[in-house]
């Protein structure tokens, strides 16, 4: 049952991700990306990490993508403009990066890392919270908060301009 669901959501994730890249219409791409994020969240859920699964939807699908769509609709973009860099160069760079990614994935698959989660694995919210606020991760967590706060203040300052 879990396996069937996993393959289903994996297929949806990959399919919609392909649409994101292959689609010329930015709004379609944005909607396809939302589908990707939602089905990816389902995969996280199947892996026993409900907290990550929900955050995936809340943060990415629910907040960031709304802003993306908002901008796309405000600008009313019809079709993707052809880039200034020639298509040949883009294809070459893209192909090279794709090859690197494929090589990495091949290496990981060859190493056989499809191991089950370690014993005592607990992805529940309570456990994630205890881990996050334990001495091991607390400083990193707080440092990230400060980073985000700085970015926030910076964004406000930039948007306000010299007035």
């Amino acid at each position: 049952m879990d396996l069937v669901l996993f393959y289903f959501f994996a297929a949806v994730t990959l399919g919609s991700a392909l649409v994101v890249v292959g689609q010329r219409h930015p709004t379609y791409s944005a909607f396809a990306l939302i589908v990707t994020l939602c089905s990816l969240s389902a995969v996280f859920g199947l892996l026993g990490s409900p907290f990550i699964a929900v955050l995936q939807v809340v943060v990415y699908a629910g907040a960031i993508m709304v802003l993306f769509l908002f901008v796309l609709m405000l600008l009313n973009v019809k079709r993707e403009e052809p880039g200034r860099v020639g298509g040949g160069v883009l294809k070459l760079v893209g192909g090279g990066l794709g090859a690197v990614l494929a090589a990495q994935m091949g290496a990981v698959l060859a190493a056989g890392s499809a191991a089950p989660p370690p014993a005592g694995f607990d992805g529940s919210t309570g456990h994630v919270a205890r881990m996050l606020f334990s001495p091991a991760y607390l400083y990193v967590f707080e440092a990230t908060s400060i980073l985000i706060l700085t970015a926030l203040v910076g964004a406000v300052a930039l948007a306000k301009g010299d007035r």
Binding site: T27, F31, I34, C38, S41, P50, F51, A53, V54, L55, V57, V58, A61, G62, A63, V66, L67, L69, F70, M73, L74, N76, S124, T125
Partner: protein, 343 residues
């Protein structure tokens, strides 16, 4: 049947029952809203179809079924068709984690009156409600009409702004209950009604009420469909059953918000006095839940009959400069209260 199959059957039955109850409640609400609004305006409202006009929703349904389905020539066909579906799916999804009664003993096993008691229940609600905006945005954009586009844009900006206050207003409750599970939050309010969260978390309740009204686009926050300036907002170009689906999504969202308010702030299926929880040996939790939810629904109709609409800049100012700071203050006060054991 194996235990897994039994579980599956129970879940499917629960989903089917809840789905049909919600459909019935939706058609009832269209009638009740029109009647109550009419009474508030010294009119009679629909009273011709059946006794007291109670069959009006049936007549409306038949009419909508047989109307012509139109689509603007410049519309984006796929998204135009998909938008009402998306709106209705997100509307129905969020009610899945709301418990509407205590455990029931049926056929020799305990059945919880809730579709899914998720450990991340509250976060799930937050996720689904943040997806709800896409149905409206998609509808507004796909119709290729400037009024619908403006309606869609307004609604995305509005829902985005008020979602933050909505989520923050839940944090105090989560802290008091010590759990994200909705059934745990209901259980944390057990006892006399003084333990209910609308008293323990009064400020959060007010913030929730305002933010939730904005989330479901009801008056005074119905700017996305402000008929005086945007024709009918994002559903201007919709007709027939697709229009009905968008309407249904709005009403189901309203029902969800009322159900949530009763679960999170009014003790859900708990009675105001523990002695009233059982009548003649039967658990009447479901009735208490329906009563609280009905009061919430009445409140939304009452509000629509009472207050005028916000201006757009006032709406944004209010959301960001009043509600969000108030919700944050509530979190700080709740944290202090828990640290110093005030309650």
């Amino acid at each position: 049947m194996t235990p897994l199959q039994q579980e599956l059957v129970i879940v499917v039955v629960k989903i089917l029952v809840l789905f049909n109850v919600l459909l019935g409640l939706f058609s009832l609400m269209t009638y009740v809203e029109r009647r109550l609004l009419a009474f508030m305006q010294f009119r009679l409202g629909p009273n011709r179809t059946g006794p007291f006009g109670i069959l009006q929703p049936v007549a409306d349904g038949i009419k909508l079924f047989f109307k012509e389905e139109t689509m603007p020539a410049g519309a984006n066909k796929w998204l135009f068709v998909a938008a009402p579906g998306l709106a209705i799916v997100t509307a129905f999804l969020s009610i899945a984690v709301v418990p509407y009664g205590g455990p029931v003993h049926l056929f020799g096993r305990d059945i919880t009156l809730q579709i899914a008691d998720l450990g991340v229940g509250i976060l799930f609600l937050f996720a689904v409600s943040s997806l709800g905006v896409y149905g409206i945005v998609m509808a507004g954009w796909a119709a290729n009409n400037k009024y619908t586009l403006l309606g869609g844009l307004r609604s995305s900006a509005q829902m985005f702004s008020y979602e933050l206050a909505l989520g923050l207003s839940w944090v105090g409750i989560i802290m008091l209950a010590g759990s994200l599970r909705v059934s745990d939050i209901v259980a944390s309010q057990a006892g006399w009604f003084v333990h209910w969260n609308f008293l323990r978390q009064g400020l959060a309740f007010l913030v929730y009420l305002v933010a939730a009204t904005a989330e479901i686009n009801r008056t005074p926050f119905d700017l996305p469909e402000a008929e005086a300036e945007l024709v009918a907002g994002f559903h201007t170009e919709y007709s027939s059953m697709r229009f009905a689906l968008l309407q249904m999504a709005e009403y189901v969202n309203m029902i969800t918000v009322a159900a949530l308010a009763s679960s999170l702030f009014f003790g859900g299926w708990l009675a105001p006095f523990p002695a009233l929880q059982t009548v003649l040996g039967y658990d009447v939790g479901l009735l208490w839940f329906l009563l609280k939810m009905g009061a919430g629904l009445f409140f939304f109709i009452w509000l629509r009959g009472t207050v005028p609409r916000f201006r757009y800049d006032q709406l944004m100012d209010f959301g960001w400069k009043v509600l969000v700071p108030l919700a944050t203050l509530n979190i700080l006060v709740t944290a202090a209260g828990m640290a110093f054991k005030w309650w």
